[in-house]
């Protein structure tokens, strides 16, 4: 079954008094356990697509099903619930809360779900250990390197056992070695069966994924899978 399934996704935004199309009829599905990259130049609409996939934005036209649930028309608080339970975000700028320790940052999504304190501490600790930062649990973000902060970010994304991990340029702020380490972490998660969508314009990041969806001018122009021949879809 597809974890993510979008059909006829269209979205416009206002630029001054002009209405500009960001997405024009995007369709694709991402099956469970897949690691896919969404690539495209800036202005291609991939950020809008990411925001819609992350339930941070309401869909203007088309439908979006996440784990079988139609989330297209959900009200704000329901979208917050979906974000908290089904989606794990990894950001380019890590976005850790500076006044909280690494452990507390990883606990945060569980706190918003109302998980009891003891249980969430335990789960957060496990997630931190899984990304190799068990020793750094009590450190605050500014005491960690960029690569370490991003690994805390990954731990925070997986701690809720989400249906999909959405990563937005996860290596964009990192040096090559740290970037590779983070990508290796994603591939580990992929091997454990997690569904991962990485939005990027770095070819080496896309190359590490089993599928690459190319977006240009608000349309899917190429959908390439590493197993089997790449095929053009260019629909809509």
């Amino acid at each position: 079954m597809d974890v993510i399934s979008v059909e006829g996704l269209s979205h416009t935004y206002l630029s001054g008094s002009l209405r500009v199309a960001a997405l024009e009829g995007v369709d694709f599905g991402i099956p469970e356990g897949q690691m896919a990259a969404i690539v495209g130049p800036s202005g291609s609409g991939k950020s809008t697509l990411l925001h819609i996939l992350g339930c941070l934005m309401q869909v203007e036209r088309g439908t979006y099903r996440l784990s079988g649930e139609d989330v297209t028309k959900l009200p704000g608080d329901e979208l917050a619930r979906v974000r908290g339970t089904r989606i794990g975000f990894v950001f380019q700028a890590y976005n850790l809360v500076p006044q909280l320790t690494a452990l507390e940052n990883v606990e945060l999504p569980l706190a918003y779900l109302g998980t009891p304190r003891r249980q969430r501490r335990q789960r957060a600790m496990q997630a931190l250990e899984a990304v190799g930062l068990g020793e750094r649990a009590r450190h605050r973000p500014f005491e960690l390197s960029g690569g370490q902060q991003q690994r805390v970010g990954v731990a925070r994304a997986v701690v809720t056992e989400p249906s999909v991990i959405l990563a937005d340029e996860p290596t964009g702020n990192l040096d090559t070695a740290s970037g590779q380490a983070v990508m290796e972490l994603f591939r580990d998660l992929h091997r454990q069966g997690r569904t991962i969508v990485v939005v990027t314009h770095a070819p080496e990041v896309a190359a590490g994924c089993e599928r690459t969806i190319h977006i240009r001018d608000g349309r899917v122009v190429k959908d390439a899978r590493r197993e089997g021949r790449p095929r053009d879809v260019a629909r809509g």
């Binding site: 941070l56 974000r83 976005n95 809360v97 006044q99 909280l100 945060l108 999504p109 706190a111 918003y112």
Partner: protein
Amino acid sequence: MSLGDSLRIAVRALVLQRLRTMLAMLGVIIGITAVIALLSVGTAASDSVTSKVSGLGARVIDLTPMGQSGVTLDAADASWLLRRVREISAAAPIISGSVTSYQGGKTWSTTLIGTTPGALAIEGRSVAIGRDFTRSETANDASVAVIGSTTAKKLFSGSDPIGRQITVDGVPLTIVGEMQTEGTSQGFGQDPDDEIVVPISLAQDIIGTSDLSMIVASARSASYVPLAVGHLEAVLDTRFGTTDAANVQSAAALGSTLSSITSILTLLLAGIAGISLLVGGIGIMNIMLVTVAERTREIGLRKAIGAKNRDISLQFLLEACLLSVTGGLIGAGAGIGGGILIERAFGWSPLIDWQGVTIALAFSVAVGILFGLWPALRASALDPVEALRSA
């Protein structure tokens, strides 16, 4: 997210920004301190007036000539009233004027009171050392005087004044007694311990008039006071043919008038202090708006990982309330302490207006909610996409 978790986050944010937290609280601290200190001091002042009056002075009735229709009272009127009005057990004529006194090269401007023996007793005062002048001394125009403790201090610098001579407006007097210190408990006006009391005929000679400034009378008991006031007014009306001859007022009534004036003043001051509390609230709102603006990205992140609008608004509302309540508690402590210090300085018994403290603290919570609400709602209304994009 549970309330406990939200509270922990709010405390953490405030502790990390210590200086800003202190400055944000300052307005509320000053406001609450002012409200509580003023309420306490005001209540203590009004209590002090009331207790003074209701203690020894409960039976005292003052008759003050109003100077209208040319009516004046003299010493004979006092004894006439005592004979005519059964409800009073004593009446003493009072004549007073400003004089300059001399003793051993010292000069002191003070008030000269001329009266009959027993006037001190009517007013609930007593002689501490020496004695009051006697009836025969009054009749014989004797040059004797009883002085207040302040006057004694100014003229004799602490040495025993009994038997010593002073000169008042050129007339030599012998001190026979010094009055018990009254204190400055009335709070306003002149020092009750700064006066020279002499037989009335002597005072008439020195001041140069026989017109009384007032007659003090004492009702047979406190319960006779209203009857006595009515009877005195009626008798004066018939004697002088006018209702405006003299103002008859019991000390108790005067006391309640004074204490109601004090209460109004207290409320007025507390109201002004309340405005400063409101200004403190605006300070908190200002800081909260800055905080929300600074933490836009954090708000976006929290929303992205599952925070509902309610979680965000609650977090910032709690921060604002913590600021105002902590400020309120510090202010309450300072206000209580400051109030006690001021009350001590005035010689009143210290009094904490607990009702005022409770109201002020409740007010500080209300200020936190009122002025924290708008920034909190602004924070929760942020679009997560926009918030995450902000630098």
